[in-house]
């Protein structure tokens, strides 16, 4: 059951990922990216990370991607015009990437020490309670620093996107 779920959602994630790169209209890329994030949320659930799965849907897929969608619709970005690519890139691009990927995968599968297989429900430490216990005690300083970071980002975004008062 775990294998079926993993394969289904991993395949969906890879197909959506390829779609993000290949689609010419930014909105199709954005929707494919939302598909990737959704399937990754399911994979996080399989790995026992329930809080992170919910945060992924709320923050990433529900807020950041909406922001992307807004900007695309606001700028009325049309389909990207195809510029000419050199012959080398056209013929060697995909095979080089696939071989790089194969090399990476080989090293990962070969050198990675044997780990217990991932079963849904094996890892119980991803609940909001255990997450909060570590976040607010051991990682309190990074937490406070990231809140200042978000404040700076808000101020920066508001200043940059403001209409000039002439």
């Amino acid at each position: 059951m775990d294998v079926i779920l993993f394969l289904a959602f991993a395949a969906f994630a890879v197909v959506c990922g390829i779609n993000v790169v290949l689609q010419s209209h930014p909105i199709s890329s954005a929707l494919s990216l939302i598909g990737v994030m959704g399937s990754l949320a399911v994979l996080y659930l399989l790995l026992g990370a329930e809080f992170i799965a919910a945060a992924q849907l709320i923050v990433y897929a529900g807020a950041i991607m909406v922001l992307f969608l807004f900007v695309i619709m606001l700028l009325n970005a049309g389909s990207e015009a195809k510029r000419g690519r050199s012959l080398l890139v056209q013929f060697m691009g995909v095979p080089v990437m696939v071989s790089l990927l194969g090399l990476l995968s080989y090293f990962v599968l070969r050198l990675f020490p044997a780990a217990p297989p991932v079963r849904f429900g094996n890892f119980r430490g991803g609940s909001p309670r255990s997450f909060g216990e570590v976040l607010f005690t051991q990682y309190l300083l990074p937490f406070e620093v990231t809140s200042v970071l978000i404040l700076i980002a808000i101020i920066g975004a508001v200043v940059l996107a403001r209409k000039e008062i002439d």
Binding site: E50, A54, A55, L57, I58, A61, G62, V66, L69
Partner: protein, 394 residues
């Protein structure tokens, strides 16, 4: 194995009840708004217009299903699907009652209990924004795009005060699972005051309730926040180019969102399926209400104001008395009474939604957004701070 069968049966029951409630919620809304405006509402199709939702469904199904040539086909067809899916998905974690025993099987009156139930609801409502935004963009129509952008911006702006208003009672109940939130509100203080979050020491969550309700009005695009789909401003907002079943999907999604917001309010603030008074008094209130309603109907049925009520009012009276009798059966009490309390509280909130729709004018868009960011968000933060202080210091 039997777990799957029981879950399937529960899912079927919930789906059936939900879809019927959606249809009749529309009937209730039209009748209530009509009576607020001193007219009668649907009264021709069936007694008191009760078959009007059926007529509407038949009309919507048999209408011509247009696919305008100028729309972006994939997103045009995806948008209502997303809207309806997200709206109906959030019903799956709502607890309708306690653990019951049916034909020897122990099961909870809830489809599934996640220990991140509240976060799940928030996540699904964040994803519901996409149905609206995509519908407007795919329609290739400037009114639809404007309406969709306004609606999406409104929905994500009001998600913030909503999340903060949800966080405040969570400080009191210490859990994110919806079932445990309801269980933490059992019991009665001083013997008669229910232990609901809205009355709970150390800090009664009255302000959170108000903030959540206001944010809920805005999330579901109801008056006074319904400028994005106002008929006299924007043709029909983001569903201008939709007809027949796809339009019905958006309609269903709006009412399902309304039911979800009302249910979550009841669970977080009003004690879920717990009765109003302890012990026997609480068990006798529902049959008393129905019996009273039945007797009133029968009395008015003897001297009806309108001729056709001579036949309908006695029938309603007898139906209410029958329901009161069913509520008194001790064998069914454990199943039916919590359902009654949950339905009564949710129904009262839905009536408030409809009441507000019939009474208030709508906000202008800049007033709406200013209200969210400049008033409701700081008040929600302040409320969370005060709740945190009271919980930590008391």
């Amino acid at each position: 194995m039997e777990f799957f069968i029981i879950s399937l049966i529960k899912a079927g029951i919930v789906a059936f009840v939900l879809l019927t409630t959606l249809a009749y919620l529309q009937w209730v809304e039209r009748k209530v708004i009509a009576h607020i405006q001193l007219r009668m509402g649907p009264s021709r199709v069936g007694p008191h217009g009760l078959l009007q939702p059926l007529a509407d469904v038949i009309k919507l199904i048999t209408k011509e299903d247009l696919l305008p040539p100028h729309v972006n086909k994939f997103f045009y067809l995806l948008a209502p699907f997303l809207a309806v899916t997200m709206a109906l998905l959030s019903i799956s974690v709502i607890p309708f009652g306690p653990e019951i025993e049916v034909f020897g099987y122990n099961t909870w009156m809830q489809l599934t209990d996640l220990n991140i139930g509240v976060l799940f609801i928030l996540a699904i409502s964040s994803m519901g924004v996409y149905g609206v935004a995509l519908a407007g963009w795919a329609s290739n129509n400037k009114y639809a795009l404007l309406g969709a952008m306004r609606s999406a911006a409104q929905m994500i702006s009001y998600e913030l005060p909503m999340a903060l208003a949800i966080a405040a009672p969570l400080l009191l109940v210490n859990t994110l699972s919806l079932r445990e939130i309801v269980e933490a509100q059992s019991g009665y203080a001083f013997g008669f005051l229910p232990h609901w979050t809205i009355f709970q020491a150390p800090f009664p969550q009255f302000f959170s309730f108000i903030i959540f309700l206001i944010a809920g009005f805005a999330e579901t695009n109801r008056i006074p926040f319904d400028l994005p789909e106002a008929e006299n401003e924007l043709v029909a907002g983001f569903h201008t180019e939709y007809s027949s079943m796809k339009f019905a999907s958006f309609f269903m999604a709006e009412y399902a969102n309304m039911i979800t917001v009302a249910s979550i309010t009841v669970i977080l603030f009003l004690g879920g399926w717990h009765p109003l008074a302890p012990g026997l008094a609480g068990d006798l209130i529902p049959p008393a209400i129905f019996a009273l309603g039945g007797l009133v109907c029968l009395y008015h049925g003897l001297h009806p104001a309108r001729g056709k009520d001579r036949y309908t009012l006695p029938v309603f009276g007898l139906i209410f008395l029958g329901v009161a009798a069913v509520l008194l059966i001790p064998a069914l009490k454990a199943i039916v009474l919590p359902l009654f309390w949950f339905a009564a509280k949710t129904g009262a909130l839905l009536f408030t939604f409809i009441w507000v729709r019939g009474t208030l004018p709508r906000f202008r868009y800049d007033q709406l957004m200013g209200f969210a960011w400049k008033f409701l968000f700081p008040v929600a933060i302040l409320n969370l701070l005060v709740t945190g202080f009271m919980v930590a210091l008391v």
